[in-house]
């Protein structure tokens, strides 16, 4: 397969400056791919898919008949990020997560930012993810967002924007690790001559972070991973992370709370649990505090948490900062808490609760992307240019009925990466979800998950809607040849 007929079609391409001029960071990789014998790439692709199936790296499809599992499509052509750009993204993410954490802590304590009028109080207090039950809570080290996945996109001008802050139970990091593993096993040639920052230290970093949360005095603290169970679409990731960290994977029914302490049910009776990396939404965490009909959670867990008997990551209530209306205020939040301009930009956002914004949105539904404030996974969304008149009318009615629940953004022309389609390369739109850990300090996993919209022209990258993924390479050395400090290149 060759790139000679590859076309960027006027989009920003992560690998090509123009149709036949590669970007400097992609040159070596493209040469390697071009030098492969005929059919080699497709053979590697088949091998990679077979490997994913054999390793059982599959996700469950809810809407499908019971027990249907699919592999998350994986494209062999990696996405490359130059080291200088990554350094800048990393600093931006650190700043943003630090500010968001300060914001959450403030909201559940003094609410200074509301008193100072930076954000209207009703916007925050009306957020579906605001939890009055968390008011006054002091999580260990006052950290609320221990694990975050921040969605970044690049538009037609090459500008990077934050699209969403996923602070509650972000998923996908296991694919980052497995994609690298699969690529190394099936297509080792492409790594030759390049120095790429490794990703496999993530489980150690995560474990270290979880252990720093243990209540004081528990020197041999026990951390566990809490999953909704095998039928959850991210179950593979839950078991993978537990296994990689050497922690026990537990379900709600394995845990019991007594006297402000959480125990797990073992063959040798009840054993104390100190830290829970929970992959269950707030709503289902504890039927005594949140949704009473939850069968997945642990009755009394919040009381134990409040009493300091157990640490939870992420902290319940932190979703207030990833509400899509509050998202529009993040630049203001960064300025307020950090006293500095935000490094990473927001996509301009129209808030439908504001009369002026709403009338603009309603008049321009065919041009905008409209999102429900509290949805994720590509649900509850209208992509204006791709929508019909009827869909627009239906959305207009929803917006009029619940203005607080909707925001709108201009339709971004997402950047593209060459992707194997049948027997040739075509550009496909991508996003990037880097993962950020916040414990003793803030750690950003180099790269993150590149999701790719495999359908021609589609801008929706979610796995539930025809998305796939790519390995994401952060080059260890700047292109001018001078190397980074040893720490970063190990």
């Amino acid at each position: 397969m060759r790139f000679s007929s590859y076309q960027t079609d006027g989009f920003y391409d992560e690998m090509f400056q123009t149709d036949d001029v590669p970007r400097p960071q992609a040159r070596l990789l493209l040469e390697t791919i071009q030098s492969l014998s005929d059919g080699q790439l497709l053979r590697s692709k088949v091998a990679a898919e077979r490997l994913l199936l054999q390793m059982g790296i599959t996700f469950n499809v809810y809407a499908d008949s019971a027990g249907t599992e699919r592999i998350f499509p994986f494209d062999l052509v990696p996405r490359i990020i130059a080291s200088e750009e990554w350094t800048w993204i990393e600093r931006g993410l650190e700043q943003r997560i630090h500010a968001l954490n300060e914001f959450i802590d403030d909201i559940y304590h003094d609410q200074k930012i509301l008193k100072d009028g930076v954000i209207p109080a009703e916007v925050v207090l009306s957020a579906a993810s605001y939890r009055p039950q968390c008011q006054g809570l002091d999580p260990p080290r006052r950290i609320w967002c221990h694990i975050a996945g921040i969605d970044l996109v690049r538009d037609g001008n090459g500008q990077i924007y934050v699209l969403e802050d996923n602070l509650r139970v972000p998923s996908g990091v296991s694919y980052v690790l497995e994609n690298r593993e699969v690529l190394k096993r099936t297509f080792p040639q492409v790594f030759e001559g390049l120095s790429i920052r490794p990703v496999n230290q993530y489980p150690s970093r995560l474990l270290e972070m979880l252990q720093t949360l243990a209540p004081a005095g528990a020197s041999d603290a026990r951390a566990v991973v809490l999953t909704p169970g095998v039928y959850n679409s991210a179950y593979f990731e839950h078991s993978f992370l537990a296994q990689q960290m050497g922690l026990q994977l537990v379900e709600g029914r394995d845990l019991v709370v007594s006297g402000g302490v959480v125990y797990m049910r073992t063959t040798r009776g009840l054993q104390r649990v100190d830290v829970i990396y929970r992959r269950i939404d707030d709503d289902f965490l504890d039927p005594e505090t949140f949704r009473a009909d939850s069968l997945l959670g642990v009755p009394g867990l919040m009381a134990a948490y409040r009493a300091g008997g157990v640490a939870l990551a992420n902290a319940p209530g932190n979703g207030v900062a990833d509400d899509k209306v509050i998202y529009a205020y993040v630049p203001a939040i960064v300025r307020y808490y950090e006293g500095a301009e935000p490094i990473l930009h927001n996509v301009p956002t129209y808030l439908c609760w504001k009369d002026s914004d709403r009338s603009y949105v309603l008049e321009n539904l065919d041009k905008l992307v409209v999102k429900a404030a509290n949805e994720s996974g590509g649900y509850g969304m209208l992509v204006g240019p791709a929508s019909t008149r009827d869909e627009q009318r239906a959305f207009a009615a929803k917006i009029e009925a619940h203005p607080r629940n909707y925001i709108a953004q201009p339709t971004l022309s997402l950047s593209r990466v060459p992707t194997i389609i049948d027997d040739h390369f075509e550009g496909r739109h991508v996003d990037l979800r880097p993962y950020v850990l916040y414990g003793k300090d803030i750690y950003v996993l180099p790269g993150g998950l590149t999701r790719v919209a495999l359908r021609k022209g589609s801008l929706v990258v979610n796995s539930s809607q025809g998305g796939g993924s790519k390995d994401t390479w952060v080059l260890a050395k700047p292109l001018n040849g001078s190397s980074l400090p040893a720490e970063a290149t190990r």
């Binding site: 199936l53 054999q54 390793m55 993978f240 296994q243 125990y263 049910r265 073992t266 063959t267 054993q271």
Partner: protein, 335 residues
Amino acid sequence: MSGSNPLLSRVADSLYWIGRYIERADSVARMVGVNLQMMLDLPAENTGQWQALVDTGGDTRVFRERYGPASQESVIRFLVFDRENRNSMAVCVNVARDNARSVRDTISSEMWEQVNRLYLLINSTRPDSLTADSLPEFFHRVRTECHLFQGLTDSTMSHNEPWNFLQLGRAMERADKTTRILDVKYFMLLPSLSDVGTPYDDIQWSAVLKSVSGFEMYRKRHGRMVPDRVVEFLLMDREFPRAVHHCITGADECLHSITGTPTGNFSCAAEQWLGLLRSELHYTRAETILSSGLHEFLDGLQVKMNRIDTAIMENFFALGHDAKAAAQSAGSRQR
């Protein structure tokens, strides 16, 4: 006991059943494979052998209701591919995989991938695609994949408490299967006194041994094919891995490793029943069993093994953990 992490009751339960189900799938593959071979050696009118295979699994009634008279095709469909038969090979493998998936963090990746490979093999095989010449190869492959799982379990997972629950499940399943095969076959083969000493007798007893992979080892131990010696070998042999005595001894040792109780003592009902059965097998002679009734003895074995199975469940998997139990352990923070 070692200082390793405590094991969740739910996980112990799943491990025990992975052990049982992989062994059960292996048994089905072995028994059907052996039967296919044996049928080639027997006179064409000898059709009872396929029915016997169904009887061994204990699903005679269900089979008759759904399929009628037993034939090679219907029995293979029922024992191997039938999703409605909870003991079919396909169901065993699917359940084993579901269990493995739920404890994927506890077992090694190699073990998980192996269960997954077995699952993909069986689920990608259509019953009607198997022809007379590909059937033996199919069952051989299933058995190899099952053995690979056993080998990986032995070599990629620490021999700790979770491992012991896997082995316990496997040992209990083996004891159960050997008992059932013997019960069905002994009474099928004995009445045909006219066959005694004929080649058919030899073929059929050899098949019984082959269906527990015991033919060669029996020859080394006892030589000639003598029904009573076969019974003795399958029940009492101290060295053959599928002999009931060997399985029960192995199960007892697993259980003692799990609890940390010295052999000869017991700390729970499961250990007590298992220990009783172990010593009964230890101090009983094959001649006594045969003279006082093999069927009665095997029936008794089944009852005892069921009681042990239930006790294992109650003692380890279904611990009553109410708030009172929590309050009791609150004082002693065990690690």
